[in-house]
């Protein structure tokens, strides 16, 4: 039987008196790839931040005991203003150089980047650095907020390939937030549709019906699934 690593039950999140998430329940098993799908403002990022443990909530969030979580937030706007190089960014986690180089290699970046200032990196490079940063403590689960935001199509493809490779090699469990439907069919084994409340949960082909999508995005969205095999 596959090990369960996260159980969310009747989760409610309120911020500043506003209800952001209501009555959310789902279970994640080891090695699962989940895409949390929903329009802008649906509470996806809030959900991820709540799962990481930085926001107060009601209901139940039960991670496997002593689980290591890697978290890649959506944007880090402040970091570009700080004269910090890649090496020093990793050293904030108190890790040694050997581990840093290994982690960089696993996301396809050479060690020559270590002395570069973070502010001078391209968004694609920076995104990879963030993944490597999250992976360096060997987490079992990776929470990733909009990994493709602000990255061009070729960059998107390569980050998607990278995540798929990492997931296979490390048997990593991935929870990824996105508003992009295409990613679901390319990448997800499971999908969780949220717009304040849970609108669907399960295998994409089964649960992403036109009716659900209509409720989720509120318009006449058409969704074509296509197979790559």
């Amino acid at each position: 039987m596959v090990e369960q690593i996260l159980k969310v039950d009747k989760l409610k999140v309120e911020l500043g008196g506003e209800r952001i998430i209501e009555n959310l329940s789902f279970n994640v098993k080891k090695g699962d790839v989940w895409v949390i799908l929903g329009p802008n403002g649906a509470g996806k990022t809030i959900l991820l931040r709540t799962l990481v443990g930085v926001l107060p909530y009601k209901g139940k969030i039960e991670w496997k005991k002593n689980i290591k979580i890697g978290y890649v937030p959506q944007r880090l706007p402040m970091i570009k203003d700080i004269p910090i190089n890649v090496m020093e960014f990793f050293e904030l986690k108190k890790v040694n150089e050997k581990k840093i180089i290994e982690s960089l290699e696993s996301v396809g970046i050479g060690k020559e980047i270590l002395n570069k200032k973070i502010g001078d990196l391209s968004s694609g490079q920076f995104q990879r650095i963030l993944v490597a940063w999250a992976l360096i403590d060997n987490p079992e689960v990776l929470l990733f907020d909009e990994p493709f935001a602000g990255i061009d199509i070729s960059g998107t493809e390569s980050i998607y390939d990278l995540l798929e490779k990492l997931q296979k090699n490390r048997n990593l469990t991935i929870l990824l937030v996105s508003h992009d439907l295409n990613i679901v069919h390319k990448f997800a084994k499971n999908v969780l549709c949220v717009n304040k409340e849970m609108l669907c949960c399960g295998v994409p082909k089964k649960v992403l019906t036109p009716g659900t999508l209509n409720k989720l995005y509120g318009g006449n969205i058409k969704f074509y699934s296509h197979s790559h095999d």
Binding site: R49, P73, I79, I82, P83, N85, E88, E91
Partner: protein, 254 residues
């Protein structure tokens, strides 16, 4: 060189160095003007200390600590930024300060005076500056992480609220020390200018933090020598020296 000059030099080096080092964090956190505004928060405390015949730096520190605690408390209770809250605190204090600081002492409170530092004051200032430097050094990377992203810091199980409070407390200590050197009006320069100069040429956090420290110390030394040479007040000379470093640093900026 007279003994009095050596005492002034020591205070300028320690207070200036510690302020510049802390300033590198404040500039990175976009809180540069907080130090400046906080300088004024000290004014009523200095006034009360003068009226009661107590130590002026102590009076300044008590009011700074009080001001910082209020800012910290309000920042948790409201959605206003630290900068806005400090702004409110700053004008309130300045108004009260002008009312209660006696006129003859007002000039010294505003522009500082380290030409008559006692041995005791010199020792206390240097020890406080050194201790603050060591603490800042220990928590530097944690504060940078919090600055990059509070979420990321919390996910690394860093006590964000606790570190922020300690950081604000250190600002209070450093500003109180700096006021002795430059007065309340110019104390902001001790934290802002060296860090701004260092940021211009730094390619790494180490260069930035220690570059700022070195510029702070050098400005103190050169400023005191200029004071000895010209007889102008030391505070403004120290500040102007750091401004020259800033101008030079612009050459290295890409």
């Amino acid at each position: 060189m007279t003994n009095q000059l050596i005492l002034s030099l020591i205070v300028a080096i320690f207070a200036g160095g510690a302020a510049a080092y802390l300033g590198s964090l404040m500039v990175a956190k976009k809180m540069a003007l907080v130090g400046d505004a906080l300088g004024h928060v000290a004014l009523p405390g200095m006034g009360i200390a003068i009226l009661l015949g107590l130590n002026v730096s102590l009076g300044a520190f008590v009011f700074l600590a009080l001001g910082i605690l209020l800012v910290w408390y309000f920042s948790l209770k409201t959605n206003l930024s630290t900068e806005t809250l400090v702004g409110v605190m700053f004008v309130t204090s300045l108004a009260i300060g002008f009312l209660i600081v006696p006129e003859p002492e007002l000039l010294e409170a505003l522009f500082g005076d380290i030409s008559n530092v006692s041995v005791n004051a010199c020792v206390i200032s240097s020890v406080l500056a050194l201790v603050s430097f060591v603490i800042i050094n220990q928590i530097y990377s944690k504060l940078i992480m919090i600055n990059i992203s509070e979420d990321l810091a919390k996910s690394e199980r860093i006590n964000v609220k606790g570190y922020n409070l300690l950081y604000l407390f250190l600002i209070a200590v450093i500003v109180a020390l700096g006021i002795k050197v430059t007065g309340t009006l110019l104390v902001g320069a001790l934290v802002i200018v060296p860090a701004a100069a260092a940021k211009n040429f730094s390619k790494s956090l180490k260069q930035y933090a220690y570059g700022s420290l070195v510029i702070g110390v050098l400005s103190g030394i050169i400023g005191i020598f200029l004071y000895n040479l010209t007889g102008f007040p030391a505070g403004p000379l120290i500040v102007l020296t750091s401004c020259v470093f800033f101008l030079i640093s612009l050459i290295f900026k890409k």
